[in-house]
Amino acid sequence: MDRPDTPHTDEPLVAETQIERRSALAIWISRLEGPQTMGRGPVFWATAALVVLAAILYPLFSDPFAVGNSAYFMVWTFMAMGLGVVWGYTGALSFGQTAFFGLAGYAYGVLTINFGAAYGFTWIALMISVALGGLFAMLIGYFMFYGRIKGVFVGIVTLSVTLVLETFMAQTAGPQWRIGEARLNGFNGMSGMPPLTIPWPGGDVLLYPGVGLYYVLLAMVVLCYLGLRMLLNAPFGNVLVAIRENPERAEMLGYDTRAYQMLSFALGGALAGLSGALYTAWGQYITPSSMGLTAAALPIVWVAVGGRRDITATLLGTLAVLFAFQLLTVYGSQYALIVMGALLLFTVLLTPEGLIATAMRWLGRLVGRAKR
């Protein structure tokens, strides 16, 4: 048969497997840039390095209170990036990340109050809390995704979970509500747990809000951000985005879409848990209202305003919105919350991709043009 338009090759379509010479490390590092994340090339990385350098130098030019405040902002970024993965990349809109935040926050409190802070136990408590947040999210995710619910129902179920947890914790006021030494204290919440400590010869270093905690958190944010970039550009991230775009096709390419969704949700839950445990360690308290309706709305605001489909936009947007919120709180937190609501409304109506993401795209085009 005459087939002029099809290339005549005897090569198979699928390439013969050749041995890959690059090491696993090189492959992962190459994934810092890729199709699922904005920003590539020397200009981007130089800017990023400058930003990190500025963040490192910042405490030298600022007062300890402001530095402690900045540390507080960074505490929340993990939950925001986790929501970015779940909502922006996987396409499952969770309204209840605060459930995992709260669970891990309480877990950190209960563990450290019972077992103290010696020998760096606070870090073990932190890890256990994060794991609990992730496991709880995996359980909820199992029921949701294997029950084939999607779209708005994911939002409703997750929101219901966090609100019920809030109600539960708010009624634990009596003395019978205790886990070991730790009183749950109902509506007033738990307090008196130790901050993170670094074991040090001649006395542990206590990381109260201040310069020490600031640097620890900065390092964690940078590592988490880079790690997520690599994960999202890896095959795992490609599959998440494929599921967001067309779950049926992803399944019909042989991917166990429910398992991927569940794992993504567990990752989001673990990151929310990290924020929760760090929050408790930062202020040495946690209350049920951290799982309430208003608290649940805030991560949505950060991620929507920043831009959910890009992890860099999510991170920058979260920091920017938190900073604005802090400035406005001077006039009263009610006013700040009204502005947050309005910001959310305007973002959804005017820049559905998110303010920061739109700005970054615009900037990228500008740089691209300048180079030419």
Binding site: M1, R3, D5, T6, P7, T9, E11, P12, L13, V14, A15, E16, T17, Q18, E20, R22, I27, P35, P235, N238, V239, V241, A242, E245, N246, E248, R249, A250, E251, M252, L253, G254, Y255, D256, T257
Partner: protein
């Protein structure tokens, strides 16, 4: 010839409507087989039963000798069944390259992945569109991209639901050549098709489905001459 797919006594009802009625069907390895029938004959449902998107009420599906009746969709795909949907099932926000990356990254990475993607891009005539978002491709190109993606799971059986729907005559002809090429590379093809000229171009064997039943089976010539088949298409007895 070896049987690649054999379906026996497959039944499925939706509410009170029988969409698959005791279907017995055998597909031989290496063939290009077309499934035809009037609208509502149960062709798409039959595909969805094979793919595991619907669970049958009774009956069994064997693929290469193994019972896959109770497996979930992705597990069937991993055993070597692949599909191209009627409405192009592509990832519209992703570029052509990313679409193919996702399709092939199961078993390929690094250099092997990129060289395979390059070959598939050539095969599907999409060289100029590698970085284009898939949603911006023409309808015919989207169909081709999906055929390319369907090859990504290294299938032994490829299901095609109306592969030429909405294509120009030229695109239809190219698609036929593409399918012949895939067939020569060892992929068995089962296609739902309305366009009888296209059926003649590609099929060696034709099955007619009517009211969820196998109505007739044979070579293309036998089917065209079959008096009953002409009746169901012309008699308007469907739906």
């Amino acid at each position: 010839m070896t049987e690649i797919l054999s379906v026996s006594k497959l039944n499925k009802k939706f509410g009170g409507v029988t969409v698959a009625n005791d279907i017995d069907f055998t597909l031989h390895a290496g063939t290009m087989h077309c499934l035809i029938g009037p609208n509502g004959a149960g062709k798409s449902t039959f595909f969805r039963l094979i793919l595991g998107e619907h669970a049958p009420d009774s009956g069994t599906i064997l693929f290469r000798g193994a019972d896959i009746t109770r497996l979930r969709s992705f597990e069937r795909i991993r055993r070597g069944i692949s599909v191209k949907f009627q409405v192009p099932g592509i990832f519209k926000a992703l570029s052509v390259r990313q679409n193919l990356d996702v399709a092939f990254q199961h078993h390929l990475h690094g250099h092997n992945l990129s060289s395979t993607v390059k070959r598939v891009v050539e095969f599907t005539n999409l060289e100029a569109e590698v970085e284009t978002p898939a949603g911006a491709l023409s309808h015919g190109q989207q169909q081709w991209l999906e055929i390319g993606m369907a090859v990504g799971v290294e299938p032994t059986l490829l299901l095609l639901d109306e592969p030429t729907a909405g294509m120009s005559p030229d695109e239809t002809r190219k698609t036929g050549e593409m399918l012949h090429d895939l067939n020569q590379r060892g992929i068995t093809i089962l296609a739902v098709e309305h366009d009888m000229a296209f059926v003649e171009q590609i099929a060696t064997q034709v099955t007619v489905l009517h009211f969820g039943r196998i109505f007739a089976e044979g070579t293309i010539a036998e089917i065209i001459d079959h008096p009953g088949v002409q009746d169901i298409y012309l008699g308007g007895s469907d739906e």
